[in-house]
């Protein structure tokens, strides 16, 4: 296999609950200009391939956004492909781009993703449209919702392992605190465990502050061969080279009930992690990974994730998280960006934003208050639904 792709440059807009002054074309254009500035490039004429990453056609009132965005950012007449994978869309887009480079189909590819998350429609319409992203014939029609499915899972985790609401409140507090050091974060907050415990119930045992954000935003990453980056991207030689070394993907049933008897954890995530670790020659992820962005769609999901990613033993997620080993000053800092809880989650851009955080950590280029010292290897964990699709991507600094 050829050398892994490098991250040539990255760009993003701020994440907000609503970018009222921008439609998706505008947001995408802003992120691409940010990426050009990061690359030290004047335009995209040297970039060979595009890859569009967004989830929802209906929120954005368009069925051909891949073509529209590709046109908007001046990539015509070069090839493009659109990737959709629910919440995992951005990470799946990067994985697909990885394969484009590895196969030799192209030497450079711009992965660009964005989302507007339904502020333009009434909440009834938004809920009906969100319902279409779950099992339409059964779970959603009875009155279920993703918050409810995740809540049922963490309840099973609590019963099996003694995980407590205070333990997952720690995640809600820490990630919003980390967001305070991230200038593009949507909702940094300094709150206490009590604030989380006393917030109003949404789907018990999850309460308001256990839930992540709905967001507007855009982000992009320019991936290429090392040779291409040295030739076309002036910024590449000015910082440590970061390689996209491994990618893993797994899947699971759409409905939680079809996974019985396993209700506590994410099988797809274990599979994605195992693939990525094999590819990156990682045998002890807790020791061998320095920084990670985890898919904290709900606070307890991070507890389930640290188990499924093999950072801690199954069932040990609660006390490990609450003990602080994943905090900024802990053994393996996670969600330094603020995560989905604090930075926000513009779906098609989320996996890309996670990768940008990890890459900038490896470049040692983030705010010193959230910078992880001497980070050499970072991981992103992204999933769709209740991990019906799961993607783990790994990045490594090599200098």
């Amino acid at each position: 296999m050829s050398l892994a792709p490098v991250v040539a440059a990255v760009g993003a807009t701020p994440v907000a609950s609503e970018h009222r002054g921008c439609n998706l074309r505008d947001l995408m254009a802003e992120a691409v200009l940010d990426c050009l500035a990061d690359a030290g490039m004047d335009d995209l004429s040297s970039v060979e391939h595009g890859l569009t990453s967004y989830e929802s056609d209906h929120f954005n009132l368009g069925m051909t956004l891949g073509a529209i965005l590709h046109d908007t950012i001046g990539m015509i007449p070069k090839p493009n492909v659109r990737i959709e994978g629910g919440g995992a869309t951005g990470a799946l887009a990067l994985r697909t781009a990885w394969a484009h480079i590895q196969s030799g189909l192209c030497d450079s590819i711009l992965v660009y993703g964005c989302e507007k998350n339904g502020r333009g429609v009434s909440s009834r319409t938004a809920n009906q449209l969100f319902a279409l992203s779950a099992d339409v014939d059964w779970e959603m029609m009875v009155g279920g919702s993703y918050t409810g499915f995740y809540a049922a899972m963490i309840r099973a985790h609590m019963e099996a392992f003694g995980t407590s609401e205070e333990q997952f409140a720690h995640v809600a507090v820490r990630n919003r605190h980390n967001a305070g050091f991230n200038p593009i974060a949507q909702k940094p907050m300094d709150i206490s465990i009590d604030d989380v415990m006393n917030s109003r119930p949404v789907a018990e045992p999850y309460k308001l502050f256990d839930c992540s954000l709905l967001s507007d935003g855009a982000a992009c990453i320019l991936l290429s061969t090392e040779e291409w980056a040295r030739r076309h991207c002036p910024a590449f030689d000015r910082r440590a080279p970061v390689y996209f070394v491994a990618t893993g993907c797994g899947s699971d049933t759409m409905r939680l009930g079809d996974r019985y008897p396993e209700l506590t954890n994410f099988r797809a995530k274990r599979r994605a992690a195992a693939q990525a670790y094999a590819m990156a020659n990682i045998s002890d992820p807790m020791r061998e990974i320095d920084v990670a962005e985890l898919y904290d769609s709900y606070s307890g999901v991070e507890i389930q994730a640290v188990e499924d990613l093999g950072f801690v033993e199954p069932g040990h997620g609660g006390p490990s998280v609450a003990g602080g080993i994943f905090d900024l000053d802990g053994e393996l800092p996670v969600n330094t960006s603020g995560g989905l809880l604090g930075r926000g989650a513009p779906v098609g851009a989320t996996g890309i934003l996670q990768a940008i955080e990890v890459v900038q950590q490896l470049w040692a280029a983030v705010d010193p208050q959230r910078q992880v010292a001497k980070a050499r290897r970072g991981l992103t964990d992204t999933h769709a639904g209740i991990a019906s699709i799961s993607v783990v991507n790994i990045f490594e600094r090599r200098d």
Binding site: R20, G21, E30, L33, H58, L61, S123, R124, N127, Q128, F130, A131, D137, W138, E139, M140, M141, V142, G143, G144, S145, T147, G148, F149, A151, A152, M153, R155, A156, E159, R200, P201, V202, A203, E204, P205, Y206, T253, R255, L256, G257, D258, Y260, L263
Partner: protein, 177 residues
């Protein structure tokens, strides 16, 4: 003055330009209303019989002819064997394996829109089934716990979506077989 654009919601203009803003000339924003109304003739497909039998007060599942696994909700095709399944009738009694108490209704259809909050979403292992059936459990949230015996109850009133022809209720002691 009459509005020249009927769909216009509002216009916002920047008070002053921010120094160095490359988009300074593009900060004025107009919003309009766009309508999109959709109604589907939606086929329930090969699981239709499940819904038809709910009208008769019968609860059906499918059993794989290959591996014997019993699916509730039904699957016409076993994903393990890719063998076509057979319909089987279950008693409708089962046990709660996990649940959540929902404090908002997602309004995904008119039946759901009409639910009073909070309500219980329960995952039930029906006697004779191998998967969990998710549905409303009409019970006080405090009563509900893993291991609670429940049974299918059938709606007396007309519903919009046929899945609401049924729901779960706790089994009271004297009902137990």
């Amino acid at each position: 003055m009459t509005e020249k654009v009927r769909s216009k919601i509002d216009i916002s203009l920047p008070q002053s330009a921010t120094a160095g803003d490359v988009w300074a000339q593009f900060r004025g924003v107009e919003r309009i209303t766009m309508e999109l109304t959709q109604s589907y003739k939606y086929s329930l497909g090969k699981v239709s019989r499940f819904f038809m039998e709910l009208e008769n007060g019968r609860f059906l599942a499918t059993r794989c002819a290959g591996c014997g696994k019993v699916y509730a909700p039904p699957r016409p095709l076993c994903p393990n064997c890719l063998a076509v399944a057979d319909w089987v009738e279950l008693s409708g009694q089962g046990v709660v394996k996990t649940h959540s108490v929902l404090h908002f209704s997602p309004g995904s259809n008119d039946d759901v829109e009409a639910l009073e909050t909070p309500y219980v979403l329960a995952y039930v292992l029906l006697d004779g089934a191998d998967t969990l059936f998710p549905h409303l459990l009409k019970a006080t949230p405090d009563q509900v716990h893993s291991g609670l015996r429940v049974r299918v109850a059938y709606s007396e009133k007309p519903v919009h979506h046929p899945i609401h022809l049924m729901y779960f209720v706790p089994v009271v002691e004297r009902e137990r077989q």
